[in-house]
């Protein structure tokens, strides 16, 4: 699952990240006179707005560290490295970053380090590729434009298990069958099934099979294009209440002009070719009108 968060920076972080782009590290003076790196917008003790920027060095000293033998996705280095709190020269607080030390034997608290600047800098904390063990000064500053925004991509990976109620539903789909579940308390039929009946809070344990036809309870005409859209607009997204079910689900309705769709319209599933089936509702390519007379409003009014 990924998302590129795009964030505006404001005057304090904007200055800090613009300066990183220039291979410069900038701190800010707190209410107590301490120089904070990274700079804080407000003093952590007095909550006063801070504004006095202070030039600090891109060299410093390790104040604390841990050793990562197997780096994780997204971390600054893909070989073993140290996380370190680094107090850059001129600062009173510490910055977290990676140190490319090669071996934990070379790391110790008090070790002198310097920033290793990335060649393509965007105005981000990752403009410092990492720190390296050295007594020498880092590369000198260069000219660069200010930045006002930063994009911070987030990519996380999840394994969603098929839960005990989803399992028969997904297996059924692989065979072209629609398996719903009935609440043992209120006897409502859920398709797709849920882990528990939202009315009674008990697991929906009774399985029943439904036919692949039903009634449009409500619908909308999609006119707006969006990222990932499968078919060109306009088209109809409809809530379909399968016969025997108590909860409608959203699906695509084709084979009818948008202006002819109506609540109560009877529809049937159009399945993809069998060789394309998997454990997914996408086995049903879309619904189309079945040609039956419309369902009376009373037959679905409780399911809107």
């Amino acid at each position: 699952m990924g998302f590129d968060y795009t964030r505006s920076l404001g005057p304090t972080l904007g200055r800090f990240l613009s300066d990183l782009r220039r291979r410069k590290v900038t701190g800010i003076r707190g209410s107590d006179g301490r120089v904070h790196v990274p700079p804080l917008e407000y003093d952590p003790v007095t909550a006063e707005r801070l504004s006095e920027f202070v030039d600090v060095a891109s060299t410093g000293v390790v104040r604390g560290w841990s050793w990562i033998p197997e780096p994780l996705e997204g971390q600054p280095l893909d070989r073993p490295f140290a996380w370190a709190l680094i107090q850059v020269d001129g600062a009173d607080t510490s910055l977290l970053h990676a140190v490319d030390a090669g071996s934990p034997d070379r790391m110790s608290t008090g070790t002198r380090v310097r920033a290793r600047w990335r060649s393509d800098r965007a105005g981000a904390i990752t403009d410092i590729e990492c720190f390296e063990i050295s007594d020498e000064p880092a590369d000198p500053p260069v000219e660069a434009d200010d930045v006002t925004m930063v994009i911070t991509p987030v990519n996380l990976h999840y394994t969603h298990s098929a839960s005990p109620t989803e399992d028969p539903f997904l297996r059924g789909l692989m065979e072209g069958r629609l398996i719903a579940q009935r609440c043992p308390a209120c006897e409502k039929v859920y398709f797709p099934p849920r882990p528990a009946c939202p009315t009674d809070g008990v697991p929906t344990t009774d399985q029943i099979e439904l036919a692949d036809r039903g009634t449009v309870t409500t619908y909308c005409v999609v006119n707006v294009p969006f990222l990932g859209q499968r078919i060109p607009p306009p088209y109809v997204s409809a809530y379909v209440l399968l016969d025997g079910a108590d909860i409608p689900f959203l699906h695509l309705l084709l084979g009818v002009a948008p202006e002819d769709v109506r609540m109560g319209m009877r529809v049937e599933a159009v399945w993809k070719p069998r060789e394309e089936w998997g454990p997914t509702m996408q086995n049903i390519d879309h619904f189309k009108p079945s040609g039956e007379p419309d369902a009376p409003f009373d037959s679905y009014s409780q399911h809107l």
Partner: protein, 351 residues
């Protein structure tokens, strides 16, 4: 002001992986049944519901809304949620009861950590501008704190391993624990580092689980529970998120919360310390002497269901009041990196 007490507590077994959804429903249904059944209540007797969980952990949007299915929210209920450990949901519910708006509340937390990569998910709680883009993992950050403490002489690898050994030994009496048993400190110290200076036993395990607590006010509490755990102090405090700017070898927020909640004189403390050295740090911050029994359940080193573990600490502590084995207890919860935010709930039994 009304008196409010913890009257019921239930939790799932702490396990490495469950087969349910990340919405927690499968874990919550049985513990709701257990806690309400034990008190002779049904869902309609509960005036307010409040939960703690995280969508980043669940890997889906509005997982806490789906979790409401476990309640059976019809007719509609009064409900709230915090994107934090459910100990903070308990705080919200406690305030609601103090205000006299309702007489009972059920609080729950759930987390299915096995679905994602917990060490990376935890980076989402850091500063999104200058820290998260580096993807610092939870073990890497805790390792820095642990080493700084070792070098400052506050603890060493031996005393850290002793915390783990004591936790696992205590957990033998906890049938819901994930890790328990008799281990020698020397055996633990013979294992390799995971993230130096942390070994596997220094880090709470990755756990799926859920927990729930029922609160009740005044006479309602006395009706429901023979020996309610009356909340006599409930405080939470937070330190700056800029951990490079604060002294990570203490926890000012834990000190302040403990002092305000009246931690003096507790007999039992359940501490939410996901790393061995953090238990030592918290003991000191909360002023807990050697006579205080710490984590008789095994604590989170024996099972750490994210977003439920802090609530479970309060439940475990309350249980010692319910069963008459203690008269003043403390439950603690933490949130944020390196013990940034801390909550202390002090409870007492009355004759």
């Amino acid at each position: 002001m009304r008196d409010v007490a913890v009257v019921g507590f239930a939790q799932t077994p702490c396990v490495r992986e469950t087969d349910g959804t990340t919405n927690g429903v499968e874990m919550l249904v049985p513990i709701f049944h257990e806690v309400l059944g034990g008190l002779g209540l049904s869902k309609t007797d509960i005036g307010f519901w409040c939960s703690g969980s995280s969508d980043y952990l669940a890997g889906r949007a509005f997982s806490f809304v789906s979790a409401v299915d476990a309640i059976g929210a019809f007719p509609p209920i009064m409900e709230s949620h915090v994107e934090m450990d459910a100990a903070w949901a308990l705080y919200e519910a406690w305030v609601k009861l103090l205000c006299g708006e309702v007489d009972t509340a059920l609080v729950y937390g759930f987390g299915k950590s096995s679905a994602g990569e917990l060490r990376r998910v935890m980076a989402m709680q850091l500063d999104p501008y200058v820290v998260t883009p580096l993807w610092p993992d939870s073990l890497g950050l805790a390792g820095i704190q642990a080493r700084m403490g070792i070098e400052a002489g506050l603890w060493d690898e031996q005393s850290m391993a002793a915390v783990a050994a004591r936790s696992r030994a205590a957990a033998v009496s906890n049938p819901l624990a994930q890790l328990s048993g008799s281990v020698e400190v020397s055996e633990l110290l013979a294992s390799p580092y995971v993230v130096s200076p942390l070994r596997r036993h220094d880090c709470a395990p990755i756990t799926d689980g859920a927990a729930t607590i029922v609160l009740a006010a005044g006479d309602r509490a006395r009706e429901l529970c023979e020996r309610p755990a009356w909340i006599t102090g409930f405080e939470h405090r937070v330190d700056s998120p800029s951990f490079g700017a604060r002294d990570v070898l203490t926890s000012p927020s834990a000190v302040a919360a403990g002092k305000a909640a009246g931690a003096d004189g507790v007999e039992v403390a359940e501490l939410h310390a996901p790393f061995t050295h953090q238990e030592i740090l918290l003991r000191q911050a909360l002023g807990l002497g050697d006579d205080v029994v710490v984590n008789p359940s095994g604590g989170v080193l024996a099972g750490n269901p994210m977003f439920a573990a802090g609530l479970a600490r309060i439940g475990e502590a309350a249980r010692r009041v319910h069963d008459g084995s203690a008269s003043k207890v403390l439950g603690h919860a933490t949130s944020g990196p390196l013990l940034q935010q801390n909550l202390v709930c002090v409870m007492e039994g009355r004759e």
